[in-house]
């Protein structure tokens, strides 16, 4: 059954953690992501990737009733209101006066409560932000490749790559070879040209010697070894052979120059290849980290989403709390304004009727709670 972790097979502990409220990605130790397996890598995380501190209650404002009461503030006039209301229940004009006083008092309470609610909302938002920062903080991790290379990320985001000894040796060899090839490519070609020319001449010389001997024998058989001409120097055949040999030498020289230049290019290309190959272990290590990076990104995304959800929930709770506070303040205000308006009516109506109306409307407990008369 997919658990939404990109094919990673969570362990029971991991599953427990990830399924626990607010425990997403708390510990990935022992997990075996299938992608990493597919890449022939077994990235392991030796520490929780993104450890989040779960909120104590994701389904409330996060405040205990005492805190909520604190946030909403005690109503200093509760006792007064309780006495006032008690007194209201006793009689008529006094009752109206008392009702007016209570209404004013309640309006004042409502005003104060609204001011306190803003301050508490500010404080609550800052706490949520602080928690969000903590929850989205980067978690260091290390990736170990199948060949023994290690890729580590420290808490500051710095990375450290360590190749295995074999890879280190191979890299040293390749980079050393690259240095040699580049060094050879940078050397002047004259010496190499001479060496190539000498080798070519060494190859050509025996045949030239055979040809020379053959010509010598032919000239000897023709009695022409001693021929010297102004036109050719020696016999025409000797001239032709000398010319051919000189041309061959020239071609060999040019060929040696071209060969030296080709070899120079080859050295440079080999150096390039070696240089590139020298970085393959490192590249492969970096490549091996890509699945882990993806996993980390997924984890980070979950972490961020969790933090967002957490923030939103807290904000919702806070908003509900604030709404309830506002509602309470409004209620105070309405009660206060009702009491005040009734008390200022020219025809006094039995006071009790208004209170009675409130009691009828909200219940005695609620009215007592609003008025702070409850136990």
């Amino acid at each position: 059954m997919s658990n939404g972790l990109m094919g990673m097979t969570p362990t029971s502990e991991y599953e427990r953690q990830i399924k626990s409220p607010g425990g997403i990605y708390q510990n990935a130790t022992g997990s075996s992501p299938t992608i990493a397996q597919g890449l022939n890598m077994t990235p392991t995380t030796t520490a929780p990737v993104f450890q989040m501190t779960p909120p104590e209650s994701a389904y409330s404002t996060g405040y205990s009733p005492q805190e909520q009461a604190s946030l909403l503030g005690t109503i200093p006039v509760a006792e007064e209101s309780r006495g006032l209301l008690s007194g209201l229940s006793g009689g008529g004009g006094v009752s109206n006066l008392l009702g007016a006083g209570a209404g004013a008092l309640l309006a004042q309470q409502a005003y104060r409560r609204l001011g306190n609610i803003g301050d508490r909302a500010m404080t609550g938002a800052e706490e949520i932000a602080q928690l969000g920062l903590e929850q989205t903080q980067f978690r260091p991790f290390t990736v170990t490749s199948a060949t023994g290379g290690m890729f580590g990320v420290d808490p500051q985001g710095g990375t450290t790559m360590t190749l295995s000894p074999e890879e280190q040796a191979l890299q040293s060899s390749l980079l050393g070879g690259a240095g040699q090839f580049f060094g050879q490519a940078q050397m002047p070609t004259a010496e190499r040209e001479a060496a190539i020319y000498d080798r070519m001449r060494a190859t050509m010389s025996p045949e030239e010697e055979r040809q020379r001997l053959a010509l010598e024998e032919r000239l000897a058989s023709q009695g022409r070894l001693g021929v010297r001409t102004a036109q050719y120097g020696g016999a025409p055949e000797q001239f032709a052979m000398a010319q051919a040999q000189e041309e061959a030498r020239n071609r060999a020289m040019l060929g040696a120059m071209q060969q030296a230049q080709t070899e120079q290019a080859q050295q440079a290309a080999l150096g390039q290849q070696f240089l590139g190959s020298g970085y393959i272990p490192q590249g492969q290590l970096i490549a091996a980290t890509q699945p882990a990076m993806t996993t980390a990104q997924i984890q980070q995304r979950g972490q961020l989403e969790g933090a967002g959800l957490f923030g939103e929930a807290r904000m919702s709770g806070l908003e509900a709390l604030l709404s309830s506070g506002i509602g309470q303040a409004n209620l105070f205000g309405q009660i206060g304004s009702g009491l005040l308006s009734q008390s200022l009516q020219p025809v006094l109506q039995p006071q009790s009727s208004s209170i009675e109306d409130l009691i009828k409307q909200y219940g005695i407990g609620k009215v007592q709670e609003l008025l702070g008369l409850g136990g």
Binding site: A220, S221, Q222, G223, R224, L225, G226, V227, R228, T229, A230, Q231, Y232, A235, P236
Partner: protein, 514 residues
């Protein structure tokens, strides 16, 4: 009872020339043991050679020195001119020797080799800067406009062939042949000029170039001990070796003569010739002096000066003169003997220092008198002696003693010459001599004008021949003595008339066996 005289007829004695190689006792009487100042005449008989008539009227530029080089120069227009050298000078002309030695050029030797090449005559000799004659004047080759590479090319041998000058015999570089640029005889360092060193070509490892020859489209290079032949010399850079001959070389560049179909040269083993290559690639060599090889070798070994030779198809001979030993051998080129050798005669006391056969067939001779022509029968109006001696004759029976009774020589020509008939027995050199005089060959005339000469061309004074004179002299000479072998000789002073020995008929009494 008297015994019958046996007639032994020596017909055309010595018509095969001198033979000093075979045993004299068993020789064919057609050979001669001695044939001095003799040639084989047009009828195959042994005869007196011609003498020389001096052409030069004044040999003052020569001083007391001989003409050592004669060369006929022919320019592009076909005009010929005789060039010569002697007394460290170069001359042109024949009757008057005009000194054309380049100015400020001190010549130290007279052993020039002269060739015609591209309308010029080039003079080369060892260690002397070459000279070129353009038909007007002679200059040092290096002073010719465009001359290049002359230094170091002071060769002893030069050949004009294949459109180039070929030079060899440079001091300290005796194995190298240099060739000039095509048709430019004064450029030895540009164009298609070049050289070839034969150090690695000589078949016997080492030799030096003595002479060069072009024959049958081949370049023949004569070393002292070997010969190498190149083909394709039209393009010297690519010419290739065609043949090598080991053990036969040439002793001197001036012994090489072209006969048109062959090349004759003198080697250390006698006179040699290349046979014309017909089909086979090899170059057969034929010895031409087998009958006098030892004599030739002896002369070679003792020669300290120079050699001079000439080939004359008109006279049908090849003359080779050993200048230092004043001896000339004459080889008849009309044909060869069975063994392939030429018929040879000897011209002793030869003062000939240079030869040149002109295009008109005349043979010019260089002597201290200047330039002479091989003609007449006196040596500059001096008589010379013709000598013939047969080999030892046994008449087919060397065991029996012979008693000469009569000697009947038949002499052609002579014109009242004194003939000395000689004979000796058994290799004795003390010859018995009988002298006789040949007939007068001068014709007798009638109706001859007393005050006019014998000019037959003078139509106003016609001469009428009365008698042709006595051209043939046959005498019968008494002889005495006896022996198993007999040598018959004949000597005659040649003094203006030719003389040939037609035959000698000997009547002998054959005696007992010794």
């Amino acid at each position: 009872m008297s015994q019958e005289l046996k007639s032994i007829n020596l017909i055309a004695p010595a018509f095969r020339g001198v033979n000093t190689e075979d045993s004299p006792i068993a020789q064919d009487p057609s050979f001669a043991d001695v044939a001095d100042n003799a040639v084989i005449d047009k009828r195959g008989r042994i005869a007196a050679r011609k003498g020389f008539e001096v052409i030069t009227t004044s040999a003052t530029p020569l001083g007391s020195n001989p003409i050592t080089v004669i060369h006929e120069f022919e320019d592009g227009a076909g005009v010929t001119e005789v060039l010569s050298a002697g007394n460290n000078k170069i001359f042109k002309g024949t009757t008057a020797l005009t000194d054309i030695t380049p100015g400020s050029y001190t010549i130290n030797d007279n052993n020039w080799k002269v060739v015609n090449f591209n309308n010029k005559a080039y003079f080369f000799q060892k260690n002397q800067e070459p000279v070129v004659y353009d038909g007007t004047s002679a200059v040092k080759l290096s002073t010719v406009s465009g001359a290049a590479g002359i230094t170091g090319k002071y060769g002893n041998e030069v050949l004009s062939a294949f459109g180039r000058l070929w030079v060899a015999g440079v001091t300290n570089d005796t194995s190298t042949i240099y060739w000039s640029d095509l048709l430019i005889g004064h450029d030895f360092s540009g164009g298609t000029s070049g050289s070839i060193n034969l150090d690695k070509v000589w078949p016997d490892g080492y030799d030096e170039v003595v002479a060069l020859s072009a024959h049958n489209n081949l370049l023949i290079i004569f070393g002292r001990h070997s010969i190498v032949v190149y083909q394709g010399a039209e393009a010297p850079a690519t010419m290739s070796l065609a043949d090598t001959i080991n053990g036969v070389g040439c002793v001197d560049r001036d012994t090489v003569q072209y006969t048109g179909t062959d090349v004759i040269f003198l080697s250390h083993t006698g006179l040699r010739s290349f046979g014309r290559v017909i089909q086979e690639k090899s170059m057969p060599i034929t010895s031409l002096s087998k009958t006098v090889t030892k004599d030739i070798i002896a002369l070679l070994q003792n020669e300290t000066e120079s050699f001079r030779s000439v080939y004359s198809p008109e006279e049908s001979f090849y003359l080779i003169t050993f200048v230092g030993q004043t001896t000339t051998y004459c080889f008849d080129t009309r044909g060869t003997l069975e063994d392939g050798s030429f018929r040879a005669t000897r011209w002793p006391s030869s003062i000939f220092k240079a030869y040149e056969r002109l295009q008109n067939g005349k043979v010019y001779i260089g002597t201290t008198h200047g330039i002479s022509e091989y003609k007449g029968y006196t040596d500059n109006n001096a008589k010379y002696r013709f000598r013939y001696y047969s080999p030892s004759l046994t008449f087919g029976d060397p065991s029996r003693v012979k008693f000469l009774k009569k000697i009947k020589p038949t002499i052609i020509g002579g014109n009242t010459s004194s003939i000395f008939m000689k004979f000796a027995y058994d290799f004795n050199t003390a010859y018995r001599t009988t002298e006789f005089t040949t007939g007068n060959q001068l014709p007798a005339y009638f109706g001859i004008n007393e005050f006019h000469g014998d000019d037959p061309g003078d139509e106003s004074n016609p001469l009428s021949e009365f008698t042709a004179g006595k051209l043939t002299s046959q005498v019968s000479l008494n002889a005495a003595g006896g022996g198993t072998s007999i040598v018959v000789g004949l000597e005659a002073d040649i003094n203006g008339s030719e003389l040939s020995l037609q035959e000698i008929n000997i009547l002998a009494l054959i005696g007992k066996i010794l």
